[in-house]
Amino acid sequence: MMSNHIKLMQGNEACVEGAIAAGMRFFAGYPITPSTEIAEISAQRLPRVGGKFIQMEDEIGSMAAVIGASLTGLKAMTATSGPGFSLKQENIGYAAIAEVPCVIINVQRGGPSTGLPTSPAQGDIMQAKWGTHGDHPVIALSPSSVRETFDLTIKAFNYAEKYRVPVIMLMDEVIGHMREKVEIPNREDLEVIDRKKPTSGLVDYKPYRIEDGELVPPMAEYGGEYRFHVTGLVHDETGFPSNTPKVAESLIKRLIKKIDDNKKDIFLYEEYKLEDAEIALISFGSTARSAKSAVDMARAEGIKVGLFRPITIWPFLDTEIEQLAKKVNKIITVEMNLGQYAIEVERKACKYAHVDKYGKLNGELITPDEILKKIKEV
Amino acid sequence: MATSLKIKNEKKLIVKSEWCKGCGICAAFCPKNVLSIENEIVKIVDIDACIKCGQCEMRCPDYAIYLGGKDDE
C-alpha cells in the first residue's frame, strides 16, 4: 500500500508544497511555460492555508509585489522561466540591496529569447548571478529530483529569511514537469527558519543596524510596531539614502560578505562514487541524473569516474571544487548549455586538473550514453 | 456582408479534408444544412441545397472548405 506520505508528484507541485511547508503565504506570478503549474497550484493551495495568490500584469509587477508582501512580514515567492526571469532582474537587484527575503523559481527552458519554450535547458546559470546590474548577492540552488525540489524550496526560504537575500531556484523543464515517487516528510521533521525580528526600542530603532558580530540586520514588518524607510538607493543603517563613499562601500561589501562568510551553511552538494575516481563529472539539476547513470555505466566498464553534484550553484562552491580538482585528474562538466558553470570550475580547478566540458542545448536532456562517450574521449 | 454577395454562382464548393479539424462550425452555420461532420471530418451531404453563400468558407478556421472554381473569386 502507498502510505499517505508517499505520492507520485510533479516537480512543480513539490515546489509549491515545499514552499507552503516552509511558510510561504504569498505568491505573485505571471504564467509562463514550463513554470506555470507553480502558479496554478499556488492559486489552488494558498487560500486554503490563509495565504494570498495574485496573478500580476507581468513579471516585473510580480517581482515587485513579492517584495512588497515580504516587507509586511509574509514569506513570499514567485516563479517564472527565461523571458520572465530576464524581466524580473531589475527588482531582484532591489531585493538584494534592500535586503528583502524572497524566493524566485526559474524553471529553465531553452533560450535565448523565446527560444524553445517547452524544452529543458540550464542556460540561466550565469544570469542567476549576473542578471541584474551592479555587484550584489544572491543564492541559487538547483534540485535534481522531485523530492529534492520539495526540500530545496524549504531551504530556499530558510536562506532567504536568514540572510535577507533573494534566493533563486534553478529548476529545469525536466525536473519541473516530471512526476516521481516522493515521500513527503512530516511537518515536525522539517527545519523551518523564520526571519529575525528586531528587539531594540522604538526610538533608537534603525532598520539596517547590525548587531555585534552579525552581518544581517533583524527585520521588522510594515504594519507592526516599528516604522521604517526602505529604498533601492545606497543607504546607511537608518535605511535612508547616503552618498558617502564609506557608506556605499561598506553596504555593498557587507551584502556580499553576509553570504561569503556563511558559505559553510549555504554550500550543498552531493558526491557519488568519487572516493577512488580519476575522472569527476560535475553536473546539477536534471543532467546530474544522466551523469549518475553514466557513472554507473562507466564503472561497469571499469572506468574510475565519479560525480560531483553541486546543489548550491551560487555562491560558487569554490573550496569544494578546488578540493575536487586536487583529487582527480580530469573534470568534465555536464550541463545543458555551452559551458556556463564550466567557466567557474575552470577558474578554480585549472591549476590542478584538466577541465573539459560537455554542453548541449538542442532542447533535449543530455543522455547517459552521450556522457559515457565523452568520458571515453577524454 | 459585401463578401458573400460578391461570390458568383458558378463557384464550386470544395472541401480540403486534410486541413479539416472537424470543429463543426461550417455545418452548424450553413443555412441550408449542406454539411455534416462524420468521423471528425466535414462531409457534404446535400450539395444540391447549397446556395453558395460562402458562410462556411468565411467561418472555417482551417480554410478547409471554400467556394472555388475556374475563375477563382
Partner: protein, 176 residues
C-alpha cells in the same frame, strides 16, 4: 539498470495518455516500486502531449527519460511509426488494431482498443483505460489490484464504473 522497466505510451493529443502514464506510475508505487513519469510538450503548453513515458524500477531511477523501451503502446499509426524503433528486441508492443506494424522481433498485441471504447463502451474517452487493462495483462509490471486502485483514484468522480468496465474489457482483450 536491468531491473528497470521502461514504457512509452504514444498516440494523439487528447487520448489521455498522460493520465494513463500517471496511473501506471501510481500503480507501480502502490506495488512498492519506484516510478518516474515524463511527457513531451507541444509549442508552449498548447498542442498537448503526444507521448507519455513511465519508468518503473526497484532501485533509484536516474536518467528519467525512456530510451529503448520494454513496452510500447501506440494508438495511432503515426505514433507507431515514430516510436516503433525505440522498442527493444523482444519488447512488448500494444497497438490499436487500426495500426500496421512491420517489425517481427517483438511481442506484438494488435487489439481493438479504440473500437472497444467507441463502440462497446460508447465512451471514446476511456480508450486509455482500456489500454491500461491490456498493458496490465500483457506485462506483469504492475499488479492488477494496484492498477485498478490507481485508476479509481484518478478518474473523475462519477465515472468510476465505466472506467472499471473499460479496464476489465482491456484485460480481456488479451486471453492467454
Amino acid at each position: 539498470m536491468s531491473n528497470q522497466y521502461e514504457i512509452r505510451l504514444s498516440g494523439a493529443g487528447g487520448q489521455g495518455l498522460i493520465l494513463a502514464g500517471i496511473i501506471l506510475a501510481e500503480a507501480a508505487i502502490k506495488d512498492g516500486k519506484n516510478a518516474v513519469q515524463t511527457q513531451s510538450y507541444g509549442p508552449e503548453a498548447r498542442g498537448g502531449a503526444s507521448k507519455s513515458e513511465v519508468i518503473i524500477s526497484n532501485k533509484e531511477i536516474n536518467y528519467p527519460k525512456v530510451r529503448k523501451c520494454d513496452l510500447l503502446l501506440a494508438l495511432t499509426q503515426k505514433a507507431c511509426d515514430e516510436y516503433i524503433d525505440s522498442l527493444k528486441k523482444d519488447g512488448i508492443l500494444i497497438v490499436d488494431n487500426s495500426v500496421e506494424v512491420k517489425r517481427k522481433d517483438i511481442k506484438k498485441f494488435k487489439l481493438p482498443v479504440i473500437e472497444t471504447a467507441n463502440e462497446k463502451l460508447k465512451v471514446p474517452m476511456v480508450a486509455n483505460i482500456v489500454a491500461l487493462g491490456a498493458i496490465c495483462k500483457a506485462s506483469s509490471i504492475v499488479t492488477k489490484d494496484s492498477l485498478e486502485n490507481a485508476i479509481l483514484n484518478r478518474v473523475p468522480r462519477g465515472t468510476e464504473d465505466i472506467n472499471k468496465t473499460a479496464f476489465e474489457k482491456g484485460l480481456n482483450l488479451i486471453n492467454n
